[in-house]
Symmetry: C2
Subunit: 342 residues, 2 copies
């Protein structure tokens, strides 16, 4: 059976969960796609890399199997693989070095999956065009709402529709904090509780200041509305200034405060189309869709010309399921389908 | 440019809206799929049929152009077309004659689109297998939630996931009636208002008694959970027994009453998997997702093994957009894509 080799650049929670999911679905993949998908390289920043074209057995992988003299660029440039999965942590202010990883893999004619939204928020159009030129697949479903198929919902199932607006709650951390504060916690207590439950990272500033939401909105707009903006173009306000009394006042008026994202097209002074994106705390009615998105739920609404409004919701996380890893797996299956058809 | 010919079996609101949408998207189709999609036959029960392999111009079509001596079966068996679109009104208790229309078109090697859910609720497995045998496409996205891509969300974008449960609000008419009653109308007043606004048909019994919802739930379960049931297998209760005081009592308890559908797998006495489907008025919390689905909104939630729960919402109808016609158009584009690739 034909082997399809995957290089994992980054091996944190998502990479490990993806490797486990791949094991679980191995038989399904063999039967459905007529090939064997193996991990032929794993690369981490601290430990170096391990490579085996026959496939790495992650169940027996030990720290000492890693070669400290190897790094991501060497693996990407010289390693043996068909698909590069970019799973490193995002640098939200530049998208680097993930963009360079994607670029180099594509230049070698390799398919690319990224769970890192940096390349989509900072260099989507360049990388999309490069993928076309090199005739490789470029998949990024896990970059927004984890494995919930927001991009492919539009590309594969809402065919022929033009997207005129996107909106939603895109950041789970801030939604969790606001939900805890509604229940009575102070801002700091909510952040601390989120850390205990694993929903808030050690450095939560990128979430709290709205940068993560802005990067996701940018990614959605770049892909779905065919624009070319960066997170710096988003009018952004975080939730750092929200107090318990703001939420109480909202509740008294039958409302809630949610960190909403919204992107749409307007015109500049000369009548040319101009994208506008906003992220900020917003008052919403208690019985509206954003209001009932508690804790780690999120949603994206898109407005289309032919089908009106369509919304997709990601339900709250369940501890035993890694939604982001599924996003990577679904992209892998999409690539395997293409390989099988060609 | 290659002509792809479409036969419309049924030419009511959906057929007419689809024909208009096709005109609007003609240029897009030519450019994207490299072919011209024309309507080569239109068939109605009362007026007979009109056929033109070069393409019928619906803008100038008059009643006297129809040939009274033609009927659906003659068009399907002897007409010139590549794709048959089954757009006749559903017979919810048997799925006929739509099933026979689909069967005959497939037996001639023609692709099939159905907006009529009868074939999916009553004969899905047979027709799916026949389509495979004849190597034709069988598309039915418009049968549930109009053009919202519930089937293709699962098939094309949630690849590799197993669906363990489906639930939702699937019938807009009953949701509209319950919403009006919450606002203060009696049942009869709500039905009358729905007729004025065009959301309630002359004979609303199939909606009110839950048959339409049951047929849609059956269709979803047959396709997404790979079972073979009919609407008669659904445990079904309509909204005919719901009174204003029921809704008031619910409101006093912070709840609403909604006609919910739910399908899942259980085991029969011998430990074999057994599908269970229920449709009935259900008490839901005021701030839950079903509760905020007012008027003509609807939603489907699916529970998956790899991705947890995912929900798709169809926003309220907008008068200028025909959501069902878009479902037919999206199926057409799906078929054109396949034709182009092969």
């Amino acid at each position: 059976m034909k082997k399809i080799r995957i290089a994992l650049i980054g091996y944190g929670n998502v990479g490990k969960a993806f490797a486990q999911m791949l094991l679980r679905k191995q038989e399904y993949i063999n039967e459905t796609y007529g090939c064997e998908a193996v991990i032929s390289a794993i690369c981490t920043r601290s430990k170096g890399a391990v490579m085996d074209p026959e496939g790495i057995d992650v169940r027996t992988l030990r720290d000492e199997d890693f070669d400290q003299s190897q790094d991501a660029l060497r693996v990407i440039d010289f390693g043996e693989y068909d698909i590069m999965a970019e799973l490193t942590p995002i640098n939200i202010m530049s998208g680097m070095p993930a963009i360079e990883h994607v670029r180099r893999a594509m230049n070698r004619g390799k398919h690319v999956i990224t769970a890192n939204k940096g390349p989509i928020a900072w260099a989507y159009r360049e990388l999309r065009d490069l993928a076309r030129e090199k005739n490789v697949q470029f998949c990024y479903e896990a970059t927004v709402m984890d494995g919930v198929p927001v991009y492919n919902l539009t590309k594969e199932t809402l065919m022929g529709c033009k997207i005129t607006e996107v909106s939603g709650i895109l950041n789970a951390t801030t939604n969790f904090i606001l939900t805890e504060m509604e229940k009575g916690s102070t801002f700091d207590e909510a952040v601390a509780e989120g850390r205990v439950q694993g929903f808030v990272e050690a450095d939560a500033s990128m979430d709290i200041d709205g940068w993560d939401a802005a990067a996701k909105l940018t990614a959605l707009m770049n892909v779905l509305m065919d624009v070319s903006i960066t997170p710096l173009d988003i009018n952004r306000t975080g939730i750092g200034g929200i107090t318990k009394s703001d939420l109480d006042a909202a509740a008294d008026a039958g409302k809630k405060i949610k960190l909403l994202c919204r992107g749409w097209m307007t015109e500049d002074g000369s009548g040319n189309p101009k994208p506008v994106g906003t992220v900020g705390p917003t008052l919403v009615d208690r019985d509206s869709l954003p209001a009932i998105m508690d804790a780690t739920s999120s949603y994206v609404s898109i407005m289309t010309d032919l089908m009106g409004g369509v919304t997709v919701i990601e339900e709250p996380f369940e501890p035993e399921i890694d939604h982001t890893a599924y996003g990577v797996l679904s992209d892998l299956l999409r690539i395997l389908l293409t390989i099988r058809l060609t």
